[in-house]
């Protein structure tokens, strides 16, 4: 999902109203109304109603049923697994994202564009294929399968496989958020710090990091949302063992298949809630970034 990053980089930029809306470049009222109407209708049909539906279904039988569905042991196990997966995949991609952004944004070297393309690659690979590749490598019939079996190392149908697939799918998020941000910031502040005698690490911690922290946080937040929500890739490598290798999205599917719709939507609503919290955090980050960075730069 290449686009995520797009939204990201935008995320931390000024998203204010235009300074003024002078008469000369404004459409007649009816055109405005028509366009706003079209936009709202489209969004209602494709965004709002589905979102409301999730919660409506989840609460169909009241709060008690809803809460009960969330504390059911298998649900808890799924939530735990999802959290664990995200807790591993996100920091890994975070470290990667920072390293990649550092070398790409702050240095010139040959092959940079190829590197950028390769970093984007997982965005456009079908999640199903993302799962398939791990089956081909770690499956009992795959390259490393026999060796792994011999050494009793479990990757596929176990947590490592799920984490790997998640890492693959969420691979570019942080990097893609940071690269444009760091590029636009240039290197002057780092150079200033070095001239003042700061070491490399100090420069990074005290100068670079504070400058990218909102972008970084935003990248992490979206990476996390996607890591917790991934279905296709994880479905292929999970094995669907109840209470063991089911992540939340998979658990949703299972509950759904057990005619347990309320519980399915309850878990789904948890994920939707996560998405909403993500968006709220994102909005907050944008707001903060505007507050902090985009104060009148010239007076």
């Amino acid at each position: 999902m290449a686009g995520a990053a797009a939204s990201l980089s935008i995320g931390v930029q000024a998203r204010g109203e235009p300074a003024y809306t002078p008469a000369a470049t404004v459409e007649p009222f009816w055109v405005r109304a028509l366009l706003i109407g079209a936009a709202l209708a489209f969004l209602t049909l494709f965004l709002f109603i589905p979102l409301i539906a999730v919660f409506a279904e989840a609460l169909k039988k009241g709060w008690d049923t809803y809460l009960l569905a969330l504390v059911e042991p298998d649900a808890i196990a799924a939530i735990k697994l999802t959290l664990l997966t995200a807790a591993i995949a996100v920091p890994m991609n975070l470290v990667f994202g920072v390293a990649a952004a550092w070398c790409i944004a702050k240095f010139e070297f040959r092959g940079k564009n190829i590197l950028l393309t390769l970093i984007d690659l997982p965005f456009s690979v079908s999640p199903v294929i993302a799962g398939l590749i791990y089956v081909l490598i770690f499956g009992a019939q795959g390259w490393l399968g026999p060796w792994l079996a011999e050494h009793d190392i479990k990757i596929l149908f176990a947590v490592p496989g799920i984490v790997l697939a998640t890492m693959f799918v969420t691979f570019p998020f942080v990097a893609r958020e940071l690269i444009p941000l760091m590029q636009s910031q240039g290197t002057e502040e780092e150079e200033a710090a070095l001239v003042l005698g700061a070491s490399g690490w100090r420069t990074f911690w005290h100068v670079t990091l504070p400058n990218i922290k909102w972008g970084l946080l935003y990248g992490v937040v979206l990476c996390n949302a996607r890591a917790m929500g991934e279905f296709g890739a994880v479905s292929v490598v999970s094995g669907h063992i109840r209470g063991e290798t089911n992540t939340m999205p998979l658990h949703v599917e299972i509950l759904y298949n057990e005619y347990n719709f309320v519980a399915a939507f309850a878990i789904a609503s948890l994920l939707a809630l996560l998405a909403l919290v993500t968006l709220a955090i994102k909005s907050f980050i944008e707001w903060r970034a505007n507050e902090v960075n985009l104060q009148p730069d010239q007076e």
């Binding site: 502040e189 710090a193 070491s199």
Partner: protein, 359 residues
């Protein structure tokens, strides 16, 4: 501390940014690096600071070869055109940064740091801004903070890359005078880059004029302005009128009028250009017998001490700019459209562009 660079070469890909540059920056002086955009000023400054690596050549700080030293160790103060203040740190923290990142054994105590920072803030006259953040400052204020930050670590030299380039004309003028005063107070060896000749002339003790990666001239403001070593320097350092013509045995013939060119006594019918600054042009009412160039006054305006005249030569319709004192202007009672006699008081002839170096 003195700075010396020797035989510096620097390329970017195929582009030669610095071509065998050797310079001396004397102890305690304020030197301007002046030249058109892209001539390599920034590159040279960055090489001195250690922010860039020269392809060959050496940088000596206080006589000691610094080429191998990391920027961290060179103890230079660097002021960037766009300030490069740390946006997330307060003014105070910005200035304190250089002190706080010192190795523990040489790091001053917090109270010393505080004293130092406050005294620097006083020096740049902005002590009331200590708690602000850079985005809350005006451009001029930011630049002064950037300077204070550079000074905090007691640099051996101060390097400023177009420090006022991002400011508007009025602030710029104010700040350059302020910089001069500051320098007079501190006497740190300083180099500052500019492409504004007025700025260089007004502020610097010494000016280095660069062009296309080479040094064209080095000298005091008076020297480079009044005795330019090349036609390039002449043209770059102020407005100038050009009289194209042929030089023969010490005389430039431009459109039938003869100008003395004593430098070129041995020239034999060579192409030559006479350079005259607008204020080196004498103007008087036309009289039939007066010697000089006949020109029509197209436009004039006299505001303040000087009057600007735009004249058109009667013979070849070339434009001549002249500057005379407003007193004289009023005394002459000139009106636009009238015909005048124009005479260069001082003219410098360069034969051929390529020969200009030897001229």
């Amino acid at each position: 501390m003195s700075i010396e660079v020797k035989n510096i070469h620097k390329r970017f890909g195929n582009f030669i940014a610095l071509d065998n540059v050797s310079l001396n920056f004397p102890q305690g002086e304020l030197t301007a690096l002046l030249g058109p955009s892209g001539c390599g000023k920034t590159t040279l400054l960055r090489i001195i600071a250690g922010l860039e690596q020269a392809d060959s050549g050496h940088v000596f700080l206080d006589g000691e070869d610094a080429s191998g030293q990391h920027v961290r160790e060179r103890q230079v103060g660097f002021v960037f055109q766009h300030y490069a203040l740390f946006k997330h740190m307060s003014v105070f923290e910005n200035i304190a940064f250089g002190l706080r990142v010192k190795r523990r054994d040489v790091r001053p105590s917090e109270s010393e740091i505080k004293k130092k920072v406050m005294s620097l803030l006083e020096l740049v006259q902005l002590d009331w801004l200590a708690d602000r953040y850079p985005p809350q400052l005006s451009g001029g204020q930011r630049q002064r903070i950037a300077l204070a930050r550079a000074l905090a670590v007691e640099p051996r030299v101060l390097l400023l890359d177009e420090p006022f380039g991002a400011l508007d004309a009025k602030v710029r003028k104010e700040l350059r005078r302020w910089l001069r005063r500051l320098h007079d107070e501190l006497h740190v060896t300083s180099i500052f880059v500019t492409h504004d000749q007025e700025e260089a002339l007004e502020v610097a003790d010494q000016i280095v004029v660069m062009n296309k990666g080479r040094v064209e001239q080095i000298g005091s403001p008076d020297e480079v302005y009044n005795h330019p070593a090349s036609s390039f320097v002449y043209g770059f350092l102020g407005n100038v009128n050009l009289f194209h013509g042929r030089v023969h045995e010490g005389v430039l013939d431009s459109g039938g009028i003869a100008f003395d060119a004593p430098d070129h006594a041995q020239a034999q019918d060579a192409n030559g250009i006479g350079f005259v600054r607008p204020h080196d042009i004498e103007v008087e009412r036309y009289t039939a017998d007066a010697e000089g160039i006949v020109a029509r006054l197209r436009r004039s305006h006299a505001i303040g001490p000087l009057a600007q005249l735009e004249l058109v030569r009667a013979d070849n319709a070339q434009l001549i700019e002249a500057v005379i004192s407003t007193e004289r202007y009023q005394h002459l009672g000139l009106t636009e459209g009238e015909t005048l006699i124009v005479r260069p008081k001082r003219l410098r002839v360069f034969v051929n562009e390529s020969a200009s170096q030897s001229a």
